[in-house]
Symmetry: C2
Subunit: 352 residues, 2 copies
């Protein structure tokens, strides 16, 4: 389809962490955001409500006001408090369908399965894209071992530390170095940004590794380097199974470790994070039993630190692990990419 022009629905939530999908799309999607719908900030602009987003898109009170900016898609990228869809959101979505906007949703609850939305979409001839919809069950087969591109997987110390951002920035850096690089998305925000992908965390456990492999196969053509977005962390009490599905299923040739410098414990669970050297050793040891992959470097997210603090943490991480380390947002991805590029040059073979 032609490029999307998004109106983003985030009533009452745009300036909160609940809107992190919306923020990610604004920051990284090649699709434009022409308006944000949030009555709490109506009359201001995106950068006023969320200072780290360099966007002048207007924030408006409702769908009718957003239509003045000629969107062709409505993005529902925030989770409603409590999980159920509030009545006001339903009305907004129906209004957008009536205006023939494509509906793009990252909700767990699939909008295309809602009889009222489905009927309205059929009537107006518009599409509902639930980005978390996953492909049919498929077991891991090993076909991924033979893909042409080198696969680089981001692995993390925890959820929400910057794996998607690091993957996107490194994909960009590789492209700017003349390498045919591609980003393979595994979470809802990444999928919206890339326009395709698979929400591995929504796949039935038996098939999660196979879904990761299928994603790599689907992105293997016309690429030299494939950056696969990682998920979770290997000692996350709830989400580590998704991490491991990607570690084996995406058949990586190299890993990039991503950590938020200020994070010490697993978010919401309180389990202590592993040290960077222990994370490197754990990920490499697990990989070594299936298909070897080494950690090529560390993307350290120094968000919230002063420049001096950031530099100190970057130097310390490099010294502790003996690996290249940088913050790819604060300092740009090129130095880290160049330092890691030799490690991205070769494919590894499975131990079978």
């Amino acid at each position: 389809m032609s490029a999307r022009r998004y109106a983003i629905l985030a009533p009452g939530l745009f300036a909160t962490r609940s809107a992190k999908t919306a923020h990610g799309v604004i920051a990284y999607s090649s699709d434009a955001t022409v308006a944000v719908i949030d009555p709490d900030h109506a009359g201001t602009r995106v950068r006023d409500a969320v200072p780290y987003l360099a966007s002048d898109a207007p924030i408006v009170a409702n769908v009718a006001a957003a239509l003045h900016f000629e969107p062709n898609a409505l993005l529902v990228g925030v989770a409603p408090p409590g999980g159920a869809l509030p009545k006001a959101w339903r009305a907004a979505i129906l209004e957008a369908i009536g205006a023939r906007l494509e509906i793009v949703s990252g909700l767990h609850q699939f909008l295309a399965e809602d009889p009222e939305f489905a009927a309205a979409a059929a009537a107006s001839g518009t599409r509902i894209w639930d980005v978390r919809t996953v492909p049919p069950p498929r077991l891991f087969t090993g076909a991924g071992y033979d893909v042409a591109p080198r696969v680089v997987l981001t692995v993390g110390s925890d959820c929400a530390v910057g794996k998607m951002t690091a993957s996107l920035e490194l994909t960009r850096a590789a492209g700017e170095r003349g390498v045919r690089a591609r980003f393979a998305a595994t979470g809802q925000t990444g999928i919206m940004i890339a326009g395709s992908g698979t929400a591995i965390d929504r796949v039935i456990s038996d098939f999660a590794s196979g879904a990761a492999e299928e994603l790599v196969l689907a992105n293997a053509s016309d690429a030299d380097l494939l950056f696969v977005e990682g998920q979770g962390g290997i000692n996350h009490p709830a989400f580590a199974p998704v991490t491991l599905a990607l570690l084996y299923g995406s058949v990586p040739d190299a890993l990039v470790l991503v950590h938020l410098a200020t994070r010490t414990h697993v978010e919401d669970y309180g389990t202590p994070l592993l040290s960077l050297p222990k994370l490197v050793a754990t990920y490499e040891a697990l990989c070594a039993t299936v298909k070897p992959a080494r950690v090529a470097g560390i993307a350290l997210n120094t968000y919230g630190l002063t420049p001096a603090e950031a530099q100190f943490e970057i130097a310390r991480a490099a010294e502790d692990t003996g690996l290249p380390c940088d913050d790819v947002v604060r300092n740009g991805p090129h130095d880290l990419y160049d330092a890691m590029a030799p490690a991205f040059a070769h494919k590894t073979r499975p131990v079978i």
Copy 2:
């Protein structure tokens, strides 16, 4: 409900590996198997077709013949070749429903969702139990850290090496030592045997760890020792995510490592199995980052070996790991249980 009296539907497959669920139920369920339906072996008895099963139940050609033995349930415990339900099986299931037998199925394809079966069951007032149906999505919470019983998880070198059997045998041994022991089932055969449980491999990845925790919580009352059936193996390319979901989610206080002495590579994938000392180290190292649990001993499955070979392998595994080791089927579970019991005496605390 009252005890089940099973007719087991396994046309053409009863003597094959495809019927391993049927074999498990015959060997371990407290429910009786009164007849097996397999025209290829009609007129013989279970022990004639499958020598290691000590059952004299008759094998008959069809449902009508099975009804003479007064079953109250039909068990579909074999996977149809190709995945789709053959017409002859449909007819047999409908005939059983018509005779008011409960239908118990381990198929991936849920029979209760089949309109024809559902209508027939409603008409005759009988129940369809698809044992792989999983509970609603639920995240891991950490509530499992506080359960009263000590939790013992079986972990393996691969799939299909004897984790369920080891868990069942050790549960029996503990009971015979006067300990209030319970078995928590995580796979289809185990669930049929126990009458309840959760097929963790069928849970959406994000919720697999939470489902394992929920299963432990559901089995926590009136038990001192809870044996949780493990799944897969930690370096299994396809199923390791399920293994890890159980390792963290079932919050074990101790582990029992299960291995098939003759197995050297991951079945169907060819990945080399880890050595027993490496398996012990890998499982313990992962646990140590969330909630410590040590491997208490090794249940070595020596199926297919001579008595002398079995004794040699058991001694070698014990020496290689420094842990108690025995074959709980060949030699009974009591010696291994007694050797491990001190390691089952204490709960461990999470590292939070």
